[in-house]
Symmetry: C2
Subunit: 405 residues, 2 copies
Amino acid sequence: MIKRIDGGVCAAKGFLASGVHCGVRKKRTKKDIAMIYSECRATAAAVYTTNLVKGAPLLVTKKHIADGYAQAVICNSGNANTCNADGVEVAEKMSAMAAEALGIRADDVVVASTGVIGQPLPLAPIAEGIPMLVKALSREGGTDAAEGIMTTDVVKKEIAVEFTLGGKTCRMGGIAKGSGMIHPNMATMLVFMTTDAAISAEMLRKALTTDIKKTFNMISIDGDTSTNDMVTVLANGMAGNAEITEEGEDFDTFMKALNTLNVYLCRAIAGDGEGATKLLECKVTGAKDEACAKTVAKSVICSSLLKAAMFGADANWGRVLCAIGYSGADLDVNTVDVSFRSAKGDILVCQNGAGVPFSEEKAKEILLEKEIEILVSLGNGTGEATAFGCDLTYDYVKINGDYRT
Amino acid sequence: MIKRIDGGVCAAKGFLASGVHCGVRKKRTKKDIAMIYSECRATAAAVYTTNLVKGAPLLVTKKHIADGYAQAVICNSGNANTCNADGVEVAEKMSAMAAEALGIRADDVVVASTGVIGQPLPLAPIAEGIPMLVKALSREGGTDAAEGIMTTDVVKKEIAVEFTLGGKTCRMGGIAKGSGMIHPNMATMLVFMTTDAAISAEMLRKALTTDIKKTFNMISIDGDTSTNDMVTVLANGMAGNAEITEEGEDFDTFMKALNTLNVYLCRAIAGDGEGATKLLECKVTGAKDEACAKTVAKSVICSSLLKAAMFGADANWGRVLCAIGYSGADLDVNTVDVSFRSAKGDILVCQNGAGVPFSEEKAKEILLEKEIEILVSLGNGTGEATAFGCDLTYDYVKINGDYRT
């Protein structure tokens, strides 16, 4: 039983957080740095972008949590600290300053940056911000931290859940930032999760790497895999449950809680894609296998043409067929069915690879909703997958036509 | 010596063409059907989309030119005749009607359709249009044919060249339509070429399949590989040169002429991408090999983020690095240089994988031009490639938000 609760990244026992404006961004009204702190050392796991160009903070974080432990997260927005000659040095300094201010080990800090690529990240505002962050740390600071990591995000993304392991109440919370340059592969945008469940570093890593394949790696806003994607989870064990050290009932419950968090954050990230007006979910069933289902779902969700059609609430299912056809997946186009579904109902538009008569009026009504499901049945097996995305709008172009200025 | 001449698809001896409005499209001012006719049978070659969903006309054309010969082309716009239960039957009828009206063999007709997917193509307007097309056939009809195959294209695309084979003057011309759903693989949008050079069917096929790998397969407007892409060439031998039946000097000259045509048409298609305001060319040098160069060039030209930045004339080179990094090509990001170039000059923005100081003012001046080159040097070998694309604009979204309505 996974129950939604309030509190975001501070819902789990022993976690404090904060977010402030330190000056990386010029705009004083926008928070640009965030901190998460656990009262004791936590087991930690992370997954990173597969882009060959990797943000300097990722390299530093990878080194820091190689031992499976961490105690704090420091993350700025407004500058990605990527493709800078002094990037690693700056990330190390940022991390060391946070460790010193918190009185923890230097290699127990997860460091992250998000924003523009290729502009040196100045340390002065960070040095000013860290004492402010430490002072502001509180059980109520989760929302501030969620704000501190936002770039072009419009909506804050946070969630928390409660679940039981061996009679002990555990909590798990997460914050995320997404928006543009989102097409994760192996890792994804910035997501920080906390839990008070006790779980070994090894099992935490296993849980995270297993779950992201069905969640964050199935999002695409624009097909661009960022250089700074990272998902991390800290587990401090303060719930007092018997530590999870192997697969079994407790691990399954933990996985369910993690998946609840991640699906929520995925939908939040996709629905708040740059310029997006709609959340799109492509649900593929009847595939030869899961890999095939994933390939098809991602191909559909990535189609610029389909994304633009969804923006226009146009039931242009030919574009769904087209994207299925070029996906590269092994399938028979003559057994493909396509429907659109939303809160207003569902409508079959294509059967056995050919169009069927349908009410354009009804289709329009369905597609004018804010959350649209594109249902694809391949009639070819039992493989299933869901991909998350958003529509392509004027605002995506506007936001990215002058992001730096 | 390849010389540009006028006449498009009718520049070569013995070719006539026409284009009229027959009623597939409602708008009477837009031509919607085109014909090309050779006074004698011609050797023919074609390449087709790799999309598993293939337009019915492609299946019929493939059958018709399996013997290496064709004599006429019939192509309508406004309806792709794809994903329709009766598609093949309709394409066969369309082809048979054209053959009968021209008095040629039924299997010597290349048939093509372009437009919306999944709406039955009515034969009545086609039946009405064919006699009009035959009547209108002329040496001056190339431009009308170029217009007849346009969908959301803004600009007509036609070209012709003259060259010499064994002392005989030969000509080659082509027309194309592109615009949206353009991300060819193995074949591409619609391109029809004609030549009066004598060349065997086998060598014609070889010439075409070799050249498209460097030309049409290197274009991307929006990453969507259409269901109806096709490039065809008819060679009727009326120039009187000794038939090309093997590799050698004549074949090389023929290849040069073909490449001149194709590069021109590629640039025309990319620059007239849906909603485009700019032609983008990504020129990659110093790659480990050609395959690697192609992968990088295509990844850069496909990046929605970079395309939007180019629309805004923003020298956001971090997005170039990002697209290079996720391309999947084998390379060292620490030896990558990036420059932007246009008629206003060029500017180095990234060296050895990190930013270099540059004049934003100068960069803006360069990027405000209509034709932009993105120069990527990988410092890793001698492989080279060029990819063709366009910027991502409000109008792309507008055009595709309500294409069917």
